[in-house]
Symmetry: D2
Subunit: 294 residues, 4 copies
């Protein structure tokens, strides 16, 4: 991977600016789609008006999601619009457009121009690394909402995926009493190996009243009215599952349970890290493509 590669970061929020800063430690980086007064652009060449972008770059980096409408880049930090079609002329031949969660319409535009696209949100390491700010953010919410320590609490985590694994590690550092509920026996084994109690999801109802803090990571309605009714009235439920979430929020409200539905935590609690993760992932992709001359 050559040090001569150039990047244009176009649009997005704080994460993209921090991605730009991370890339700018080693590469020439332009940034467009951010109104000037929002942030510090030291080390980055800030393009105030996208039409002023005269250079062609090797890589264009779009945010997550890349576009909300398949027409313009997603630019929450700018009043200007950047048409997706305008980007193709800023890219060198053989260049790549990186973005997160490309929609079909956006992809079609780039395909039409023969432009190579890579969706960094589909990379496993990005999702692994994003589990860290998600888990930290979830623990921060628990700390803020509870009038007791995390230490010593009986905590339930549902699922044993990426976020759960990081949660288990953090909560053990705090000496919480952690139980993992999962369906797969191998996940239950991992939970025990990592020092947790394990309960099969099908038997969760039997012990639900024991938990003082619950982190749900499973995007399925595990916490329906029936099980919520058996929970401790003082429990705090933090739902980390993407839509539609794992909790019957209406039922929980009726019962008087405290539920926090915490989505998109990386960008909220740790935009610096979230941006650096995007930058790292893009560099990994370039390294893999670089092949032998890396």
């Amino acid at each position: 991977m050559s040090r001569e590669i150039t990047f244009l970061i176009a649009g997005g929020d704080l994460r993209q600016i921090y991605a730009a800063k991370a890339l700018a430690r080693e590469f020439k980086v332009y940034a467009a789609g951010f109104d000037k007064n929002v942030v510090d652009f030291s080390g980055i060449e800030h393009i105030e008006n996208i039409n002023d972008m005269k250079e062609r770059v090797d890589c264009i980096v779009l945010p997550l999601p890349a576009s909300n409408d398949g027409v313009f880049v997603n630019t929450p930090f700018s009043k200007q619009n950047i048409p997706l079609t305008s980007l193709t002329s800023m890219l060198k031949d053989g260049g790549t457009v990186f973005g997160g969660k490309f929609d079909a319409r956006t992809l079609r535009i780039f395909n039409k121009f023969g432009v190579d696209t890579v969706d960094y949100f589909e990379r496993e390491e990005l999702n692994v690394l994003n589990a860290v700010p998600t888990a930290e953010g979830a623990v921060q919410i628990a700390m803020e909402e509870m009038a007791s320590t995390i230490y010593g609490r009986r905590v339930l985590i549902t699922g044993m995926g990426r976020i759960s694994k990081v949660l288990v590690k953090i909560l053990h550092g705090m000496s919480a009493d952690v139980t993992v509920a999962a369906r797969k026996y191998s996940d239950l084994s991992w939970a025990e190996i990592y020092g947790c109690r394990a309960v099969h999801t099908s038997e969760l109802a039997d012990s639900i009243q024991d938990y003082e803090l619950i982190f749900n990571t499973v995007p399925a309605l595990l916490f329906d009215e029936k099980i919520l009714k058996r929970a401790d009235r003082d429990v705090l439920i933090i739902d980390l599952a993407s839509k539609p979430g794992g909790v019957d929020f209406e039922a929980a409200g009726g019962i008087g349970l405290k539920v926090v539905w915490a989505l998109s935590l990386p960008g909220k609690v740790a935009p610096i890290s979230a941006g650096e993760i995007i930058a790292l992932t893009i560099l990994n992709i370039l390294k893999e493509r670089g092949g032998a001359d890396d």
Copy 2:
């Protein structure tokens, strides 16, 4: 230790109410010095006016500090005053007054009446257990103040006492990169055994610019202007040392460093746990005195 013991919790903040609740799981507990609408007193006999207290109890529990003036009980949650002298008539012969950080004047009053006093704040286990909400609260502050994860940060902890040990454990759960600065070689050895880097305090100036997050637990001016000037401009310093603290706050302000002086965290971030720790400590003291018939 008999289950027949009775308690009067007099004064204090949320911690004392939670101490009362913890004791009330097993014992008869009266509570005075809390205006009615502040909190839920289920399980506790709430004495709205101290003059209405007709029973004599085995143990009176005063807050931390027990008194601010050596005349009245410290009752931040009540508009009423409770004279310390009024308490002696509510105590059975041979009963005990528990309190935290008794001042000389308060002690003299109880001594005059021949009343036994025990300062629970002098108990090692209370200070050990209080290190937990202190460390958790410090990490919570770090999470709230920083736009990046704790994971991967270069963190400095000064001192290797109780709070530092708990901080090390929590921060390792988060896979931070932790260095401990201490003066005693045995403390440096413990730091390494617990997986940290270790630096002698006398050599701290050499590496100070490396840290992104600093927790100070040493109540001495480690962070004077000279060393602060060498620190990274983006460092966050969380000072946990009691007065006068360990940071030259004025110098830090002048340089533009972010410093949070976080005192009395247990009562602020985890009053439930802080109260339960007081209750547990009192029960330990009673157990030790109970001797063989425990």
Copy 3:
């Protein structure tokens, strides 16, 4: 899953006896293929001669591997032979034969008789749980072979699969300085999340001289003569990869490096646990099949 289920454990080594004992805590268990004086059979009905087995059972449990020749059960603890064909008459209609690493010939026999077979060695939880005795055994070997503590050693682990994950956890408990080498960027991210350094396998040669202890879990020739020549002369290499292993043993011998090729550790270092893992896995399979009336 009914408590009425009956088992015949036929053949195998200590692991199968401990599997039998584990099952016998809840179920009726027969054991055949073990000469009497080898072990204690309390709680189990020991069948000295397979021809004396008159009852029909719900489940027959064969060892790992089930058979070495596709004709007889693998019975290292017995001088008697148990023909695979003889087992079918001991199984109730609808019963199941469990075994590990069934060969094609053995499977054909059971298929011919219409007997249901399940290979427990293909179950993920068995392989997850077997990573524990493997990793513990590997650490035990390291302790026995080295004249220094594990604490503080610079340790390399290749791969980030099941065994590596357990190794990382144990070695961190010992405060070793652990580096993981892997090819997948997501594995490198996991290594870092779990507090290790991470190095891409393609760059391993650059740091190989730094390690004092190496655990190889990758069944590919990572450690060829070229890389071995760059290693520290005092390094200890423990190869946990199944045949052909991951080390050029001849080259290592020529250079004078110490290599231990440690295979089949669960049965060797922890036959009790290895047996219990087999029993647990079989019960999981039965639970899954039991469906709603579990």
Copy 4:
């Protein structure tokens, strides 16, 4: 501390040779009291006959114990005798004799000659660091003696001193189920903070039958016949307490319990580390004395 300091390592076992090697990385080191063929002395000036030592050194390092009889240096690796009195002429004026567990007679000799002595075995950091090979060695014994994994075992540790703290850390890395028995409530609190169950020593008899593995670190007869009779017959007891130990070995033998009394583990299981710890401690002492010009 000047790099010009010279050392004579006189007598001892492998630990002293490794202490010599560690010091020889930075300083000029002579070694006497080791017969030539025992070990590799690269980097060290080996004095085969003590009478051939012509140089005077700044520091003489004696083993642990320094002398068995108050007349000769303790030289288990040599057939030659080194009279303690002969050493004084090899020491520069103002030099220091380091040793472990000096007896009164030995001290009297050096005092008579006005020679400064320092007992490194009295240093806290040496005892802290020695807890590591002791705990690792104890776990190694447990692994070797047990036919099951450490993972998942119900383990009791008595005491919460240095060795126990390291044991707790290692055993948690292995996800054992650890209970600590101690007398001081603050020790019980630490045990819980470090993720263990805690039981007051006075109540140990109530749960003794639950443990599968016991590490005793308390040099008092905790395990008398009465309590041993209540223990599980399959328990393994590893006694790490110095003489007279903490177990009634005769009673244990009568009952048929397996007890291993493991003393002086650092020198046995990790002589390299034990030697490096001695070297490090001596350097710490010299640094402290070096004062400002360090």
